[in-house]
């Protein structure tokens, strides 16, 4: 059966400063929780796919490289569901 959905996760590369993550971690500390040492923020996309032939994974990864992630600062991963 053809895959119908691709879930794309985009994360900042290791070593790239994530000021949003730092701020969220600080908020968690202010909430009174001491169980979180570090937060890294990111985003995800659900791509609903049309039935088609060819290299679906290859095409989705191309879309990620060209648009959804900025390869200078971000990594991505794709799951098919």
């Amino acid at each position: 059966m053809q895959n119908k959905k691709a879930v794309v996760y985009v994360r900042l590369k290791d070593g790239v400063l994530d000021p949003q993550g730092v701020t969220i971690q600080r908020a968690i500390l202010n909430m009174g929780y001491d169980v979180v040492d570090k937060v890294r923020s990111g985003r995800f996309f659900e791509l609903e796919l049309v039935d088609g032939n060819g290299d679906l994974r290859g095409k989705v990864e191309e879309i990620c490289r060209e648009l959804l992630a900025n390869p200078v600062i971000e990594d991505f991963s794709v799951e098919f569901k």
Partner: protein
């Protein structure tokens, strides 16, 4: 000579750039983002604003506007391209300039006058300045934190691609004068060929002293002087 100012949906400094060109008595045309015709302009300006709502990442969608295919070709053939603020973000997303512009380190939108030091004057954009000149120019952005990996940052410096750096009013490069966390206080860079400039500060908003500063005028006058000399100017 003729300036071209690209208007993306969400651009909001296109009229300022247009007015800046008029102020120095040059021709100027708006270039709609759906067009691919640069109308024979000598310099293309990608203006500030929020192209395509800054959805996804600032500049990420604008890169796929039809006009950008022509801008990329124009730049590759040596044409002068100047990206201001959001335009700088479009240039890095398009790969015309290296690196990335990330969220300001303090996470706030920052709108104020800053000082920048001119690091290079062998470019059309700064030809009428002297190295070390301090310009007072406003910034207005949330994503202006210039980032590049250590090795690539070193390459950028090795190739002398840093054009402007944030400084204090005396021209000293200090942490306190860095408004957004940019690596090495970088405020503006060029490509290796020197025909594409990206900068976060807004020279087009500093064209008359009644507006707080007339220092932006010097960049526009530089371009004008460069074109008047007629040194290998590529026509679009």
């Amino acid at each position: 000579m003729k300036f071209g100012v690209v208007t993306f949906p969400g651009s909001n400094c296109d009229y300022d750039a247009y007015a800046a060109a008029k102020l120095i008595d040059e021709d100027v045309e708006f270039l709609w983002h759906q067009s691919t015709d640069l109308l024979g302009c000598d310099v293309v300006i990608l203006p500030g604003g929020f192209a395509h709502g800054d959805y996804l990442r600032s500049g990420a969608i604008a890169r796929f506007s039809p006009i950008m295919q022509s801008v990329v070709k124009f730049a590759a053939s040596g044409g002068m391209v100047m990206g201001i603020c959001n335009g700088f973000q479009v240039l890095v997303e398009s790969g015309l300039l290296p690196g990335a512009l990330m969220r300001n380190h303090h996470l706030r939108f920052s709108c104020k006058f800053v000082y920048i030091r001119v690091e290079r004057t062998d470019l059309p954009f700064t030809a009428s300045c002297r190295v070390g000149d301090v310009l007072k120019i406003p910034i207005a952005h949330k994503d202006g934190n210039y980032y590049n990996f250590q090795g690539d940052l070193q390459q950028l410096k090795d190739h002398n691609q840093v054009v402007f750096r944030y400084c204090d009013r005396d021209g000293k490069i200090t942490e306190a004068s860095n408004p957004n966390g940019s690596a090495d206080n970088i405020a503006g860079i060029t490509n290796r060929e020197g025909n594409v400039l990206g900068m976060m500060p807004h020279p087009e908003r500093a064209m008359e002293s009644i507006l707080g500063s007339g220092d932006g005028l010097r960049l526009f006058e530089s371009i004008q002087a460069f074109c008047k000399r007629g040194v290998n100017v590529e026509k679009a």
